[in-house]
């Protein structure tokens, strides 16, 4: 990493503080995310969701999606009750993060970004349940936020970031490799900077920083879980919107070995079936993201 290059990102992150929605929604929300479910103030969460009419509508659309069990909630309060507090916090956070980038300023377009993020969140949660990871909602949140650095790069250095994506698309290579080459740092490092600035929980910060490093000893087992989910999404048309020329033996990945040490059930997982289930959810992921995040 080129320290000088990434330090240019910091002022842009600090400038986000002045956005009204950051103060009104994101900051209280992030501190709420760190709290255990039984200590979250539901009234406060309903208030946060209702702060912005568009965000509230998007939250309702997401809450009523078959991906989350199709609840037919008509009010924010009933959606919060039906979905559970942690799920609503994650939904509200993704809607608020989306508003950080003005519609015409996206580099990797909003729909591609959110399909990947939501896909990774859902796959992380699904894998978490399959292997017996005790906090599937944490896995969901970590999957949802793992690429937050892409938003940072979009805001802080749009032109250089555009070059990274173009080069990655041209060479069919992974985005972080292209960033390393053209920016001197990756979305993992810029994402970490934002996550620390906003006081995300330590385990989520680890996921943001190390999700491209399958061999990372830091943050196990959550980092390993999101690393594998991220790869799976990129291999099933929920990636960055271009062809990454790769063949991945997931069960031979270092992250698999790490995860299996904690959760031996991973070795019993029916990977072909999981893959087909991801394909099955695709239509609804696309429909939902189009409805909520299409500029």
């Amino acid at each position: 990493m080129n320290r000088k290059n990434i330090e240019k990102v910091r002022p842009r992150i600090e400038a986000l503080e002045s956005m009204p929605a950051i103060q009104a929604i994101v900051q209280p929300l992030v501190s709420m995310l760190r709290e255990p479910t039984d200590q979250v103030d539901m009234e406060k969460l309903v208030e946060l969701v209702s702060y912005d009419g568009t965000i509230a509508a998007h939250c309702l659309r997401m809450a009523n999606s078959p991906l989350f069990g199709r609840r037919n909630s008509e009010t924010v309060r009933s959606a919060v009750m039906a979905l559970g507090l942690k799920r609503v916090e994650a939904i509200l956070l993704s809607c608020s993060l989306n508003n950080l980038v003005p519609p015409d300023k996206w580099v990797l377009d909003a729909v591609t970004f959110w399909r990947h993020s939501l896909g990774c969140a859902l796959v992380s949660r699904k894998m978490a349940k399959l292997i017996g990871y005790p906090d599937p909602e944490k896995a969901y949140l970590a999957g949802l936020l793992h690429d937050v650095g892409i938003l940072v790069n979009t805001l802080a250095c749009p032109e250089d970031f555009r070059k990274c994506i173009e080069a990655a698309r041209e060479g069919h290579v992974a985005l972080d490799r292209s960033e390393e080459e053209h920016l001197g740092f990756t979305h993992c490092q810029s994402g970490k900077m934002l996550a620390e600035h906003w006081h995300f929980s330590a385990d989520v910060i680890d996921v943001i920083e190390f999700h491209h490093d399958g061999a990372s000893p830091v943050g196990a087992p959550l980092v390993a879980l999101v690393h594998l989910s991220d790869l799976l999404c990129r291999l099933r048309d929920l990636g960055y919107g271009y062809y990454e020329a790769m063949g991945v033996d997931l069960a031979g990945d270092a992250a698999w070995a790490t995860l299996v040490q904690h959760y031996p059930a991973l070795d019993k997982i029916d990977l072909a079936r999981l893959t087909m289930d991801i394909d099955g959810s695709m239509e609804e992921i696309v429909a939902l993201v189009d409805a909520v995040f299409k500029p």
Binding site: G247, W256, L271, A272, M276
Partner: protein, 300 residues
Amino acid sequence: MTAGIVKPVTESEDLHDPAYLKIRDVIYQISGIYQPEEKFYLLASRCARRMEAVKAKTPADYLEHLTVRGNREAELRLLLNEITIGETYMFRSAPQLEALRNVILPQILKAKSAMGFKRLHLWSAGCSTGEEPYTLAMFLLEESDKMLAGWTFDIMATDLNDRSLTAAKAGIYGEYALRSTNELLRKKYFRPYDDKQLQATDQLKSLIRFDRVNLNDDSKMTFLKGMDLIFCCNVLIYFDLSSKRKVMQHFFSNLLTGGYLFMGHAESLYQVDDRFHLVHFPGAIGYWKPAVGYAAGGKP
């Protein structure tokens, strides 16, 4: 094989009927064909045709035909036919061909070149009426002045059914089989047969050796060696577990180290084989015969 027209499932037919879950599980357990719940409208429409034929009134009635009735094995076979009908056309799996072009062939060519080999052997096992081997032949010929310059290659295409093999050798196809074959390839590798059909050129046919092989025939299977790639799509779904396992053992020894096996897009080898490594490519899954001494590292 002709096009499968999917009967639309009406609103009144309940896709959430738990019997569909059980039908899906029976199919998966016995054949290895999996259908995610989001695609139950397809499963329901395929079941609907069989339900009409056996006069089953509800999915639960039909489940009985698949599980407890005396003719359950025959019924499952007929249902599997419904499920896989219409899957046989050329260039059906673009992601699989992209994986071959972008990842697999570069890998295999590099390994073989290092040993001084310049020849590739492909096998379409259960080639039915020939759409798959002709697709592979076109793919290889298109690469012959690019990645495959200086290489020779051949395709063995086998099936048990003599009628299918006769059709495959004739190489005469209508619009359905050619629906994903672009104009350029049609002109290059086919000639008009009649006003509705095209026939494969001799150049295309010359790459393929058709043969009758029973995948259950150990004496024959044992002698098929040196394959780089095996394609076996929707064939093992009709085999029982012990036959599946035996065929997989053969495939493993038929393949060269570093070679790949490809199955149908909805087929799974879960609990059938544990020697192959499942490898993901963008939009496609292959089964890899690992190199000797392969250690964890993620990338074959």
